[in-house]
């Protein structure tokens, strides 16, 4: 059973030793910049994939909002249970547990249900947000099946010292504040960020579920959310750096009344999440080592007095990884890693506390060939989960710079998702029962694409396209089990198949004093589920076939304005029902000025400018047109660079 893990380690160990001998004579020039580059090693796994990085201007415009708002504006498929409610992501089909959300290299998917609630993540806490389309289980492990959202705070040592603060007010009695401070020098730095939001969220909507389509206000949707993120980095000499990050988020959110209901909801959900991570990187003459440790704690308390429900669920995750990187020959890099993690959960829905131990081993080989015109990455991973080996997964990516402007790329990866602890440990009742015999879901995906980039003077144009195809086998679905008194029970019964293409175009121009940034994206997804009873061959729920995103930002001297638009086609909510297509448009205008050695930005905007009545999840109203104003102050000292 342990043979495969042993083989992987052995092969890469032998390769590494051979390469070490070849490298001993190489002169090593190690600087802090290289440490920074090493810290982004995991991004090597985006080689050959369609990865979109949200530009900094859009990040700035979404300060004071949540990650789901930002991603939705970028044309990503988001399922949101009402305004400020549970929001999950689904890339290239699949369910909410098939897209990983990774922070500082740590997969944040809850071991309880496999999901990540994006509404708990204020945009202002992160300096970099990327979306990798397609899964890659070899590096991020379980859950990275359909896509990966990568959240980072990069290059803290290089960022200027300073203080930032901002406030936002809007309809729905929305009051938000964010603040950050960064201090340090070229050796050490500390950053603290805070984001808070209080809102009644009593937005107006057209109730299409009620007789006469009355205009109503959303009820019981109040939110009180706070998040704190701390980053500290310390450099040892020129060759080592230690980064410690921690965050705490608190969310007290009422669960909004369903559109179809005359009974005002009394439900509430209280979430407290705490995470701390440590990344220690050492660059030695012949190799580099990284130690990554993280501890994540999540508490969730759902109450509904109307139904007599009070459900407390908690989980803890301990993640430990060690990675070693070695440059082989001249253009090869080898990375080997070992990981050990523990998931512990307790829930009133479990008969006992759930515990899961995971050991993993992985290795990657990156080649730079043809004078670095060709990049190739190959990876393997295996994992031992509570004594059982899951299927070996592998991935490969290729990028070929065919011409100065044209990059061709391709990738293929297998991936897996472990059953959640809910799937395994749910108590046996008359109505439902967990299934300890579940196997991991197992899938693969491949894509082919290109990037065409033209940069001429102050004009930058990019056009990229990708065709993708993916399969997910042994998809875990809860259904009444006729063999077990028709109780709801999870089983590995479905197969998911998705294919489609993604295109993205951006054009940035600087015709001083005017600067224009624009982009346009289109995603076509044909996704279906097979072998799931009568649902066989039907479209996956909440996966639109067509998604379009477009945005334009214009900066003229101290003025800026922007518009972004998204179109989402009809989505199935079950076998028989659909939600209609919708268009969303948001406008933003800003004015910046300097005073007291600080940069002030005063902004205002309109959300849902076309007053679209829409739902992201059936029965949960979303706001009609609404307004906000924002003030940001940015005080920066000279750069530490």
């Amino acid at each position: 059973m342990y043979f495969r893990v042993g083989v992987i380690l052995y092969v890469f160990a032998i390769t590494g030793l051979t390469a070490a001998k070849a490298q001993m004579c190489l002169h090593d020039t190690i600087r802090v910049e290289e440490v920074t580059i090493y810290s982004t090693y995991r991004q090597l796994h985006s080689i050959g994939t369609n990865t979109i990085k949200i530009d900094t201007l859009k990040l700035a415009n979404y300060q004071g909002k949540s990650l789901n708002d930002l991603l939705q504006s970028a044309g990503v498929n988001i399922r949101s249970y009402g305004v400020g409610g549970l929001a999950t992501i689904a890339v290239r089909g699949g369910g909410s547990s098939h897209t990983a959300v990774v922070w500082n290299g740590i997969n944040l998917q809850s071991p309880l249900n496999g999901g990540v609630n994006l509404s708990h993540f204020p945009v202002s806490l992160f300096s970099s947000v990327s979306i990798q389309h397609g899964g890659n289980g070899t590096i991020y492990g379980s859950g990275a099946v359909s896509g990966i959202v990568i959240l980072e705070n990069v290059g803290l040592l290089l960022q200027p010292n300073g203080v930032r603060a901002g406030v936002v007010f809007g309809n729905g009695n929305t009051r938000g504040a964010n603040a950050s401070v960064k201090v340090g020098n070229s050796r050490s730095a500390l950053s603290l960020k805070y984001s808070g939001l209080m809102a009644d969220n009593d937005f107006e909507f057209i109730n299409t579920f009620k007789f006469g389509n009355p205009r109503e206000r959303i009820t019981n949707a109040q939110a009180n959310q706070h998040g704190i993120l701390a980053d500290a980095v310390y450099r040892f000499g020129h060759n080592s750096v230690w980064n410690i990050s921690g965050w705490f988020t608190h969310s007290n959110k009422n669960i909004q009344t369903l559109m179809s209901s005359y009974q005002i909801s009394q439900a509430n959900q209280l979430d407290n999440n705490f995470a701390v991570s440590s990344n220690l990187t050492g660059v030695f003459p012949f190799f580099s080592v990284k130690l990554r440790n993280a501890f994540i704690n999540g508490d969730n308390h759902f109450t509904d007095p109307a139904a007599g429900i009070s459900s407390l669920n908690t989980y803890k995750q301990l993640v430990n990884e060690i990675e070693a990187k070695k440059t082989l020959l001249k253009h090869q890099e080898l990375v080997v890693g070992l990981g050990y993690s523990v998931d512990i959960a307790s829930s009133q829905s479990y008969t006992e506390n759930a515990l899961r131990n995971r050991f993993s081993a992985y290795a990657s080989l990156v080649n730079h060939l043809l004078g670095s015109r060709l990049k190739l990455v190959l990876s393997l991973r295996d994992e031992l989960v509570d004594g059982s080996l899951i299927p070996l997964v592998a991935s490969s990516g290729l990028e070929y710079k065919a011409t100065k402007r044209l990059m061709l790329r391709a990738s293929a990866a297998s991936s897996y998702r472990l059953p959640t602890l809910n799937d395994l440990y749910w108590s046996s009742t008359t109505y439902a029962v967990g299934n300890p015999n579940l196997k991991p879901e197992y899938g693969w995906n491949t894509d082919f694409g290109f990037d065409y980039i033209v940069s001429h003077n102050e004009v930058n144009f990019k056009f990229s396209g990708s065709y993708f195809i993916s399969r997910l086998n042994r998809w875990i679905v809860w259904l009444p089990d006729a063999q077990d008194n028709n109780r709801w029970k999870p089983n590995n019964i479905s197969t998911g198949k998705s294919e489609g293409f993604e295109s993205f175009m951006s054009l940035d121009t600087k015709l001083l004093p005017i600067s224009i940034k624009s982009d346009l994206s289109y995603i076509f997804t044909n996704s279906k589920i097979f072998e799931s009873g009568s649902y066989n061959g039907k479209p996956m729920i909440y996966i639109p076939r067509h998604q379009v995103g477009a945005s334009i930002s214009i900066i003229y001297k101290q003025f800026s304005c922007g518009y972004n638009h998204s179109f989402t086609s009809e989505r199935y909510t079950d076998e028989l029902n659909t939600l209609p297509l919708y268009n969303l448009g948001n406008i933003y205008m800003g004015y910046s000025f300097s005073a007291w050695r600080s940069e002030f930005t005063l902004g205002a905007g309109i959300n849902n400018v076309w007053n679209e009545q829409y739902q992201l999840v059936r029965n949960y109203a979303m706001p009609l047109r609404n307004y906000f104003i924002r003030l940001n102050v940015d005080f920066q000292s000279k750069s530490t660079k």
Binding site: S260, S261, G308, T429, P480, N486, N619
Partner: protein, 357 residues
């Protein structure tokens, strides 16, 4: 000549196509002479619906209400009743009763702001709706005028007011216990709107039927008891209880199962044979003669049926399968002796009951 021939051919094709459409498409407006299937839908998804199934053929029209009224019906269609040319649809998690014409399904009224409504009955121009109310509260019977425009009264009853029926001049309400256990039936005077008597029956009474002798039969489902860690600690047994409507007392009790909990009951055309079974996790539909003192331990029809009803015209048993709450359910029609099915059609999500229109 060729153009003329082509024109004629196109005309003929269109004519045939139109005739075919006319024949195949059941136009909204006439939903009589068929079974009305109540599709509960999935909790909180507001995908409840109504299907019309022809008595004579395999024709089915799904999503009748939304097709006619251009909006979703609501969340969790728990029950329904037909009376005086109207159909009253009880939407549990929407807290409302939707009133439609039984012929064309056009909505004519609505009762809103109910708290966990379950089932309804119409008597003497009054609409009686059973409702659980909130957690920890006793149930109630809400009384409205038949058009739903005016609230008349609210009558407190036992816990988890569930099945409701009119018989012998009274409205009978099964106090199921709701989230817990109750063992009573409440009889309400339809003139005074006062509780006449509360009668102890078996554990968790849920649904009624009336036999050939005018006796009211109540199906007491029993329930599963759990300890604090969700381990099964025991069961309250299920039973069939007959109530004498004159003496307003229990006349007969037939034990059913110690650890199985059927949810539904109906009766044959001659009202001599009671059918019971179905519901979540219960395998089979059983039958028992009203004069019998024990039941046959072999089900008349095997299988997991979320609901069933007996056609009062010919005695056919309309069974309803809900394989999941994300995909279509099915209606299977069996003969009264359990043979069949002689018809199987696809209906909406989570079908739980049938009205015969």
């Amino acid at each position: 000549m060729n153009r003329k021939f082509l024109s004629l051919a196109i005309f003929a094709f269109l004519a045939v196509a139109l005739i075919s459409c006319e024949k195949d498409d059941k136009k909204p407006g006439k939903f009589e002479n068929g079974a009305i299937v109540l599709n509960e839908g999935a909790f909180m998804q507001s995908n409840a619906s109504v299907s019309w199934v022809s008595y004579q053929s395999d024709s089915v029209v799904n999503n009748v209400f939304e097709n006619v009224n251009a909006r979703p019906l609501g969340d969790v269609l728990q029950g329904g009743v037909k009376a005086n040319g109207k159909i009253y649809l009880v939407l549990n998690n929407s807290g409302k009763v939707v009133i439609v014409n039984s012929s064309d399904f056009i909505q004519t009224g609505e009762v809103s702001n109910l708290n966990n409504p379950r089932y309804a009955v119409v008597v003497d121009g009054k609409l009686f709706v059973s409702q659980w109310n909130g957690w920890g509260q006793k149930g109630a019977v809400m009384v409205y005028n038949a058009s739903g425009s005016e609230k008349i009264d609210s009558i407190p009853v036992g816990t988890g007011a569930e099945g409701i029926i009119y018989a012998a001049g009274k409205v009978w309400v099964a106090n199921s216990g709701g989230y817990g256990v109750d063992s009573t039936v409440t009889a309400i005077n339809t003139s005074t709107l006062k509780v006449e008597k509360t009668i102890n029956v078996g554990y968790c009474p849920k649904e009624f039927t009336v036999d050939a002798n005018g006796k009211v039969w109540v199906l007491c489902s029993g329930t599963t008891i759990y300890d604090a860690n969700w381990n099964v600690a025991g069961h309250k047994p299920s039973s069939l209880v007959a109530i004498n409507t004159s003496t307003m007392s229990v006349e007969k009790s037939v034990n059913l199962f110690n650890d199985m909990h059927p949810s539904h009951i109906d009766i044959s055309v001659d009202k001599q044979t009671i059918y019971f079974g179905g519901g979540f996790g219960f395998n089979g539909i059983y039958n028992v003669q009203i004069a019998a003192s024990s039941i046959n331990q072999t089900p008349l029809v095997s299988g997991y049926y979320y609901g069933f009803n007996v056609n009062p015209i010919n005695g056919d048993i309309y069974t309803l399968e809900a394989p999941s709450f994300t995909s279509a359910g099915s209606l299977k029609v069996y003969n009264s002796d359990g043979s069949g099915p002689k018809k199987t059609v696809s209906v909406g999500i989570g079908p739980n009951g049938v009205l015969f229109n």
